[in-house]
């Protein structure tokens, strides 16, 4: 492997050198004149040719015609997208490549190759990617994907970008004064403009590396968010500077106006975004009957926000980000689960595609455009970009570290600084430079050089460097229940201490906002808004989300509760932990834990990478817990609307009543966890308040229930997936099923005392986390519940 890695790196370097050579050649060699509009399909794929059939002399009706120009543009676009996507598939086929070489590098390389081919046959790159196209279509797609925001991120992004661009601009201007380089004609404004372009950081590649290496999440989030926001800042700066650059004389009042405009643009963008978000939320309030078009609303509104912001020349990126954020919060409660999934999927897909395409085109365009190469300017640009970023990070972290509970240490800072790759935004901005700027080609060349340099060199080398300097990592190796239990306890402790210390006063504002939110906003924007609906809705949503995920991942033979241990074993590749407890005890412990541990407040959002959908382990806990609590609190009709998870649990038990009837005690124990969900491997959800109103024991009559199980019974032969699909027919009027019959709980308060009762009644057998599988195999072969011998603790 190491030799392969070395090889890849060498190949990458080789490629880089080749590219440089081609660049040089291209700039000095003869450049064929290029028409403005490129309409010829690059001959990458052997296509059917452009010739139409020669007309018959007789002008008969041709049997077979081809009308290429008609479909040309969409055809080209599609082919390009396909080609880029094939490239993407290709990378992942051979996984080892992606470890060493960031994907953007590979994409650029392929683009370079394609561009070289095109150049050699004097083809034109398709005009598909003009910057306007980029801005209008691709940029919003990338942006809409990311919704985690933090204040520090803003700090790094805004101030950092300002620092970078001004620093680079000024130093470049100083360089320009040196006659040796022959670039004296570039004035300050143009330098500033150029530096604004190249200070846009795009650490896409770095994020992948970070994720693979599992650096600590603080670092990850900051890099991530910084990338997001400094795009906005850069675009604003760019617009500002380009406007200024065209003015012959700059007066102080202009500078002042510029600064004011900066704020207007940024804040205006946010305001627009929020406005559109609210409108979207309001609209989705009424879409309960037309679920199919809900995703459409989301996309259209965000796109609209983007366009309107562009109309007023305010920061469209900020608009779309804030719109997405607002929508995420409110709209997600209004739309159906499927719409959510759809939206998420589509966004991921589109973002992925556009990212791919951008890098791809970068490669292509690199080869095929005119280049104006100026060694001095470009080299100094590279140098300054590097230097200023490092300085900027240093200074900024010094300022912000006192405010952080865990300050960034030097290694983190190095990671931050080194992770400042340039990418797509710089590329696009360079191309939209107005032609009035005399040295436009130089700028373009320099931008491309910087991008390529950073992406290839830094992108490839950052991984070994990060590993070498051993940046603080997250610890994701929770392999044993023991670790998990104690880890959870420690988290609780820490959370408690944090609360004790009163943490930050920002919570004060947060509380205020939450109150305002609950009282006013939610009433307006959310359908069926209840006082506690945030929790319930969140829970419901997460639950459904998990249900969907399980749907996708469950292999159908997820067996019953006891096999949570076996599930763990499946997951573990290495040796199993020594099980000192009986499987039953272990399960007991785990379930007790899961029932009672709530979701720890997380400081950061775990980002699982752009290739995976958000996959929050904690939310699964909620699911499990919910299942557990649902089973404990069966009662008729008092469930909140549609808890789709219920059927799953129910179905499993529903098959039991019939069998169990004969064994049933007189006491029906509602609070029993007879059937911990199969999904319990995922963790522990919290309980919702709805289960509070538990109906205490009911005598088990002749089992009359099994009513609504009709729906579910038919699924007995299918996997649990089938259960989920039938949940639409699930009604609320189910009757509690007799659960675990061996123990009787005189439980009037429901939840709280359950466990205590469990352990306080020596006479009753321990709470079965698995009901005795009496004769279940016939009913539900899926539910392979081994025979427990629950052991009294």
């Amino acid at each position: 492997l190491r030799s392969l890695g070395v090889f890849i790196r060498q190949a990458g370097t080789l490629l880089f050198i080749c590219m440089i050579l081609i660049l040089l050649h291209g700039s000095r060699g003869e450049i064929p004149s290029k028409p403005i509009a490129a309409t010829i399909l690059p001959s990458v794929k052997p296509d059917g040719g452009v010739q139409a059939y020669p007309e018959d002399q007789k002008n008969n009706l041709p049997m077979f015609t081809m009308n290429y120009p008609r479909i040309q543009i969409p055809f080209e676009i599609t082919l390009w997208v396909l080609l880029a996507s094939f490239a993407k598939i290709g990378f992942h086929v051979y996984h080892k490549i992606t470890i060493w070489v960031p994907e953007s590098c590979l994409l650029i390389s392929i683009g370079l190759i394609v561009g070289a081919i095109m150049h050699s046959v004097h083809e034109e790159p398709p005009a598909v990617l003009t910057s306007n196209v980029f801005f209008l279509y691709m940029l919003p797609l990338i942006v809409l994907d990311f919704v985690a925001v933090f204040m520090q991120v803003l700090w790094f992004a805004v101030v950092g970008t300002l620092w970078n661009s001004i620093g680079i601009g000024i130093s470049l201007f100083a360089i320009c004064q040196i006659p040796a380089f022959g670039v004296q004609d570039i004035n300050l404004q143009e330098n500033l403009l150029f530096s604004a372009i190249i200070s846009a950081v795009d650490p896409v590649a770095v994020l992948n590396v970070f994720e693979d290496v599992s650096v600590n999440e603080q670092l990850y989030i900051v890099v991530f968010g910084e990338c997001l926001f400094n795009d906005a800042v850069t675009v604003v700066l760019y617009n500002m500077f380009s406007f200024v650059a065209e003015m012959p004389v700059v007066e102080p009042v202009d500078v002042f106006i510029g600064v004011a405009r900066f704020f207007i643009v940024g804040l205006g963008g946010m305001a627009f975004g929020i406005l559109f978000g609210f409108v979207a939320a309001f609209t989705t309030r009424f879409t309960s009957k037309v679920r199919e078009i809900e995703p459409l609303f989301v996309f259209m509104y965000s796109y609209l926000a983007y366009l309107v912001a562009e109309l007023f020349a305010i920061s469209s990126i900020m608009a779309i980000i804030t719109c997405a954020l607002t929508m995420k919060y409110y709209v997600e409660e209004n739309v159906s689960q499927r719409s959510c999934t759809t939206i998420r999927h589509v966004i991921k897909m589109l973002a992925s595609i556009s990212e791919t395409l951008i890098f791809f085109f970068l490669g292509v365009v690199t080869i095929t455009t005119d280049h104006e190469w100026n060694w001095g300017y470009i080299l100094f640009t590279l140098l300054f970009a590097f230097v200023w970023r490092g300085l900027g990070i240093l200074v900024l972290t010094q300022i912000i570290n006192p405010f952080r509970t865990i300050p960034f240490n030097m290694k983190d800072q190095f990671g931050l600084a080194y992770g400042g790759l340039r990418g797509a935004v710089s590329f696009a901005l360079a191309f939209t430079l107005p032609d009035t700027i005399g040295r436009k080609q130089l700028f373009v060349t320099a931008t491309i050089a910087v991008i390529l340099f950073t992406v290839f060199l830094q992108g490839i080398s950052i991984r070994p460097l990060i590993e070498f300097i051993n940046v603080r990592r997250t610890n994701r190796n929770l392999e044993t229940i023991n670790v998990e239990i104690h880890g959870r306890l420690m988290e609780h402790t820490i959370a408690g201490i944090e609360d004790l210390c009163g943490q930050w006063s920002r919570f004060y504002w947060k509380d205020k906002f939450m109150k305002f939110n609950n009282r006013i906003l939610r009433k307006i924007l959310i359908r069926d808004s209840r006082a506690e609906s945030s929790i319930v809705a969140l829970y419901k949503k997460l639950e459904l989300q998990n249900a969907m995920e399980i749907l996708d991942t469950a292999s159908g033979d997820i067996s019953a509760a006891p096999s949570i241990v076996s599930l763990y074993e499946e997951k573990k590749s290495s040796s199993k932990p020594q099980k000192k407890f009986l499987a039953a005890d272990l399960k007991n412990m785990h379930d007790i834990l899961s029932k009672n541990m709530y979701k720890i407040r997380e400081r950061t959002v775990a980002y699982r990478g752009k290739h995976a959908l958000p996959n929050d382990n904690h939310t699964r806990e909620i699911l499990i817990r919910r299942h557990v609590s649902i089973r404990r609190s069966l009662r008729p009709g008092s469930f909140q609307s549609s808890y789709f998870s219920l059927p799953a649990g129910k179905s499993l038990e529903s098959t039991f009543p019939a069998a169990r009837r004969s064994y049933a005690d007189d006491h029906e124990t509602l609070s029993e966890v007879a059937y911990p969900s199969q999904r319990s491997r995922f963790g522990k959800p919290a309980r919702s308040s709805s289960s509070k109103a538990m109906i205490p024991l009911r005598r088990l009559g002749t089992l009359e229930e099994v009513p609504s199980t009709d729906v579910l019974n038919e699924d007995s032969s299918s996997t649990e997936q089938g259960v989920f699909r039938t949940n639409s027919s699930y009604s609320d009027s189910h009757v509690p099923r007799p659960r675990r019959l061996n123990s009787s709980f005189d439980n009037n308060n429901g939840s709280a005392d359950d466990l205590r009762n469990v352990h306080e009644e020596p006479s009753s057998p321990p709470p079965g986390w698995a009901a005795e599988p009496r004769d279940n195999t016939a009913r539900n072969p899926l539910l392979r519940r081994p025979q427990w011998t629950p052991k009294r603790k």
Binding site: P402, I406, I485, L489, M490, H492, T493, I494, A495, G496, I497, D499, L500, C501, G502, M514, E532, S534, I535, L538, Y539, M589, I592, L593, K595, N596, M597, Y598, K599, R601, S629, A686, R687, S688, S689, S691, K692, S751, A752, D753, D754, L755, R756, H759, K793
Partner: protein, 154 residues
């Protein structure tokens, strides 16, 4: 937080606390203002009730134990020194502080002391042993359903 009648923290005290716990000056002052805001009785010490008044702590399953950790054996009030001493356990470990003098007492936030603190969380009867019952008790907590939903908001 309003003005408090309680005495302000003197510089010497801050220095002492800094030496003992390792907190920085600003951290100590901030924690002191938190201390005084919790101290409703304004007598310079915190009682258990003061702690329990913190809403999030109340819904934390380990809330009681955490509160207990602040009060040394048998006492019911904790002054600011004790408060800081317990909190000092939670400072990050400074790895680069090699213990040059092995006989000197370890800083409060050393790994050993942290482990000791955690041990005491489990060990309710303070007999320096964790019995099976204690362990299981730790695992099963009062079911705080309602409060957990509040927790969700955060």
């Amino acid at each position: 937080m309003g003005s408090r009648a309680s005495r302000l923290l003197r510089e010497e005290e801050i220095e002492e606390i800094k030496k003992e716990t390792g907190f920085s000056h600003s951290q100590i002052t901030r924690l002191y203002s938190r201390f005084t805001s919790l101290d409703k009785g304004e007598n310079g010490t915190l009682s258990r009730e003061d702690f329990q008044r913190i809403p999030e702590l109340a819904i934390n399953p380990l809330g009681d134990r955490i509160i207990n950790a602040f009060f040394p054996e048998g006492e019911d009030q904790v002054n600011f020194r004790g408060f800081m001493r317990t909190l000092a356990h939670f400072r990050p470990i400074e790895d680069n502080e090699k213990n040059k003098n092995p006989s000197a007492t370890e800083p409060l936030n050393s790994r050993t002391n942290k482990l000791l603190f955690a041990f005491r969380l489990y060990d309710l009867d303070r007999d320096d042993k964790i019995s099976r019952d204690e362990l299981l008790q730790v695992l099963e907590k009062v079911d705080v359903e309602q409060k957990m939903s509040i927790r969700f908001l955060h």
